[in-house]
C-alpha cells in the first residue's frame, strides 16, 4: 500500500537545474567568447538581478516594501571607496567589509523605521536614503557633493590590464548573483523561510504559531541590507567613479528594481529573473527614447500590477503549472 508522496522537486525543476549548470559554465567562460560591451552589459544584468532578488525577498516575502534600498547600494559603493582609499584594503575585501558594516548599521535603522507601518514604512526607508545621500555629500575627503574617482593604484589591484580588470569585475558580478540567488533560495527553504511565508499569509496566525514577526522581519532586513551593500560595491567597482546623486539614486537603484520585480512577478523566485531579462530587452531597444521609455516602463508596471499581480512569471506558471525553483510542496497521489 502506498500513500501519497510529498515532494518539492518537479521534472521541470530538475531540467532547470541541468540547464542552469550548463548556462553557468557558458557564462563563466564569457570573457573568452563575449565582446567588451557585452561583458559589461552582462555584468550589469547580474547586478540588477541581484538587487531585484533582494528587493523581492523583502517586499514579496517579508512584506517590507522599501523604496529606499538605494541607501545600501550607495553605502556599499562609498565603503568601497573609503575602505580602499583610507583603509588601504584590497577592493574585494573592502566590498565585503561594506556588507558587514551595512549589516551593523541596518539594525539601528530598522529599530527606527519598523515603527512605521505599511506604506509609511516605505517612505521612511526613502528618508533614510536621503539622510545617507546628504551625509555622504558632507564628507569632503570623498569629494563632497561632486564625488570622486577610484585612484588608479587601487584600480590596478583588481588587475594590471584593462581586459583583466573587466573579466574580474564580470566574474565578481556573476559570483554575486549566484550567491544572492542561492542565499535567497536557501533562506526561503529554511524554517525562517517557512515563517516568512506564514507571516505573508497571515500575521495574526503566524504570531499565534509562536513566530516572532518583528525578529524575522529584522533578519530579512539586515541580510538584504548587507547583500545590497555588497552589490552596491560591485556596481561602483564597475563604474570606478562615485557621487552622492549617482550612489543614492532612487530611480536607478529602486524604481528600476521595483519595475523588474513587479513585471516579472513579485513573491516568486523566478519573477526577478524574467523581469530583469524583459527590463534589459526593453532598455536596449528603447533607450534612445529616454523619458518616453521610462514612462512606458511605469505604465507597464501599473498595468501588470492591476491586471496580473503575479507578473509575467505568474501568467506562465498558471498556464503550465511549472516551477523552476522548487519551493512549494506537491502532493502526488498514487494511481489506483
Amino acid at each position: 500500500m502506498t500513500g501519497p508522496r510529498v515532494t518539492r522537486a518537479t521534472r521541470a525543476s530538475r531540467i532547470a537545474m541541468v540547464l542552469g549548470a550548463v548556462t553557468l559554465i557558458v557564462l563563466a567562460a564569457a570573457p573568452w567568447w563575449a565582446g567588451r560591451a557585452d561583458l559589461r552589459l552582462m555584468g550589469e544584468i547580474f547586478l540588477y538581478l541581484s538587487l531585484a532578488c533582494l528587493w523581492n525577498l523583502m517586499a514579496g516575502y517579508a512584506g517590507l516594501v522599501s523604496v529606499g534600498q538605494q541607501a545600501f547600494v550607495g553605502f556599499g559603493g562609498y565603503m568601497l571607496f573609503a575602505l580602499t582609499i583610507f583603509g588601504g584594503l584590497h577592493p574585494v575585501v573592502a566590498i565585503a567589509g561594506g556588507g558587514v558594516l551595512a549589516a551593523l548599521i541596518s539594525v539601528p535603522i530598522a529599530t527606527l523605521i519598523f515603527r512605521l507601518k505599511g506604506a509609511y514604512f516605505a517612505i521612511g526607508t526613502w528618508v533614510m536614503a536621503e539622510v545617507f545621500r546628504l551625509a555622504f555629500a558632507q564628507i569632503q575627503a570623498l569629494g563632497g557633493g561632486s564625488g570622486t574617482s577610484l585612484p588608479v593604484a587601487i584600480v590596478k589591484e583588481i588587475g594590471r590590464k584593462k581586459a583583466m580588470r573587466e573579466s574580474v569585475s564580470y566574474w565578481l558580478a556573476l559570483g554575486a548573483v549566484l550567491c544572492v540567488l542561492l542565499a535567497v533560495y536557501v533562506f526561503l527553504r529554511s524554517r525562517r523561510g517557512l515563517a516568512l511565508t506564514a507571516i505573508r499569509d497571515s500575521e495574526v496566525a503566524a504570531s499565534g504559531l509562536g513566530i516572532d514577526i518583528w525578529r524575522t522581519k529584522l533578519e530579512v532586513y539586515v541580510v538584504t541590507s548587507a547583500l545590497t551593500a555588497v552589490i552596491g560595491g560591485l556596481i561602483f567597482l564597475q563604474k570606478l567613479r562615485i557621487s552622492p546623486d549617482a550612489a543614492f539614486s532612487v530611480n536607478d537603484w529602486t524604481a528600476f528594481v521595483i519595475f523588474i520585480v513587479v513585471i516579472g512577478g513579485i513573491g516568486t523566485l523566478e519573477g526577478p529573473i524574467i523581469g530583469t531579462l524583459i527590463f534589459f530587452a526593453l532598455r536596449e531597444t528603447l533607450a534612445d527614447f529616454g523619458t518616453i521609455y521610462l514612462m512606458v516602463l511605469g505604465l507597464v508596471a501599473i498595468v501588470v500590477m492591476l491586471k496580473a499581480p503575479k507578473g509575467v512569471w505568474g501568467l506562465i506558471r498558471d498556464r503550465f503549472d511549472i516551477e523552476l525553483f522548487p519551493l512549494s510542496y506537491r502532493v502526488h497521489h498514487p494511481k489506483d
Partner: protein, 288 residues
C-alpha cells in the same frame, strides 16, 4: 541673536508650506488609508500647470489658481475612480506600486514637456516685499503662505467635521461596508477626497513655485517633507500636521544657519528623533 530669531521665524513660515504638502497626504490617508507616492510629483505638476497658465494668459500665479485648482481637483477625481480605487484592498502593495509607477510617469512626462531646466513662477512685487518687525524683515510671501496654510487647514477641518461631505468621509473611513449601506458610494466618496486633496496640492504647488525654482525631479523631496510633517504631527490630526510642518521648517532653517549643507539633513534628523522618542507623533489623534 537676531539672526537666530530670524531663522526660527523663517522656519515657522516655511512650515506652513510643508503643512500644505502634508495636508493632502494626511487627508487621503485618513479617508481611504492610501499613501500616494506620487503626491510630491503632483505638487510639481501643479506648479508647472501654474507656469503654463501664467505664461499663456499673462496672469498672476494667484489668479492661475482659479484654473489650476479645478483642473487638479478634476484630475484627482478621475485618477481615483479610473485607477486608484482598483488598487485599494487589504494588500498594501498595489496602491504603493501603482502610485510609484505614477510618480515615474508624471516626472518623465514633465521632463518631456518642460525639460529639466529649473523654472519659477513670477509673483512680482510680493516676492521681495517685507514687513519690518522689531529688527526682523518678514517676507510678505512667506507670511501669506503661512496664513493660507492655516486657512486651508481650518477649511479642511470645517469640511471634515461640519459638512455632509465630511460626515461621508468619516463614515467611509470608519467602516466602508456600513457606509455603503447608508447609500454612500465609496468609489465616489474616495474620488471626492482625492479631488479635495489635489485642490490643496494645487495651492501648495503654486506657492512652492513662487517661493523657489522647481524642476521635474524634485517631487520626491516634497513628498518626504509632507510625510515627515504628518508623522511628526501625529497621524490623523490636521492641526498636528501644521505643527509638524513648523517643526520641520524650523529644524531646516536652524540647520541651514549652522551650515548650508546641513539644512535638509537637520530636518530629517528632527524627524528621526521624533520617530525615536514619540513614534505616534507629537499630537496623535485621540481615539474615542
Amino acid at each position: 541673536m537676531t539672526e537666530w530669531i530670524n531663522a526660527v521665524v523663517q522656519g515657522i513660515l516655511l512650515g506652513g508650506l510643508y503643512a500644505l504638502f502634508a495636508a493632502g497626504l494626511s487627508l487621503i490617508f485618513g479617508v481611504m488609508r492610501l499613501v500616494n507616492i506620487a503626491h510630491g510629483d503632483l505638487i510639481i505638476l501643479a506648479a508647472y500647470m501654474g507656469l503654463s497658465t501664467t505664461v499663456m494668459l499673462g496672469v498672476h500665479p494667484f489668479l492661475a489658481l482659479l484654473i489650476v485648482m479645478p483642473l487638479m481637483a478634476g484630475l484627482g477625481y478621475v485618477l481615483q475612480r479610473g485607477l486608484l480605487n482598483q488598487t485599494l484592498g487589504p494588500d498594501i502593495l498595489p496602491p504603493l506600486l501603482v502610485t510609484f509607477g505614477l510618480s515615474v510617469i508624471i516626472q518623465n512626462a514633465l521632463l518631456e514637456i518642460y525639460t529639466a531646466d529649473p523654472q519659477k513662477l513670477s509673483g512680482g512685487a510680493i516676492e521681495t516685499a517685507s514687513i519690518p518687525v522689531g529688527g526682523l524683515a518678514i517676507g510678505v510671501l512667506p507670511l501669506l503662505t503661512f496664513a493660507i496654510a492655516v486657512g486651508v487647514i481650518a477649511g479642511l477641518q470645517w469640511i471634515f467635521y461640519s459638512t455632509g461631505l465630511g460626515r461621508g468621509f468619516r463614515a467611509v473611513s470608519d467602516n466602508q461596508d456600513i457606509a455603503q449601506l447608508m447609500g454612500l458610494n465609496k468609489a465616489h466618496v474616495f474620488g471626492l477626497a482625492m479631488a479635495l486633496a489635489l485642490a490643496v496640492v494645487a495651492i501648495a504647488g503654486i506657492l512652492l513655485g513662487m517661493r523657489t525654482s522647481f524642476d521635474p525631479a524634485i517631487g520626491g523631496g516634497r513628498l518626504i517633507f509632507g510625510f515627515e510633517a504628518v508623522i511628526i504631527g501625529g497621524l490623523g490630526n490636521l492641526w498636528g500636521t501644521l505643527a509638524g510642518g513648523v517643526i520641520l521648517g524650523v529644524a531646516q532653517t536652524i540647520g541651514g544657519k549652522i551650515d548650508p549643507g546641513w539644512q535638509l539633513l537637520a530636518g530629517h534628523i528632527a524627524f528621526l528623533i521624533v520617530l525615536a522618542i514619540r513614534p505616534n507623533g507629537l499630537f496623535p489623534r485621540i481615539e474615542h
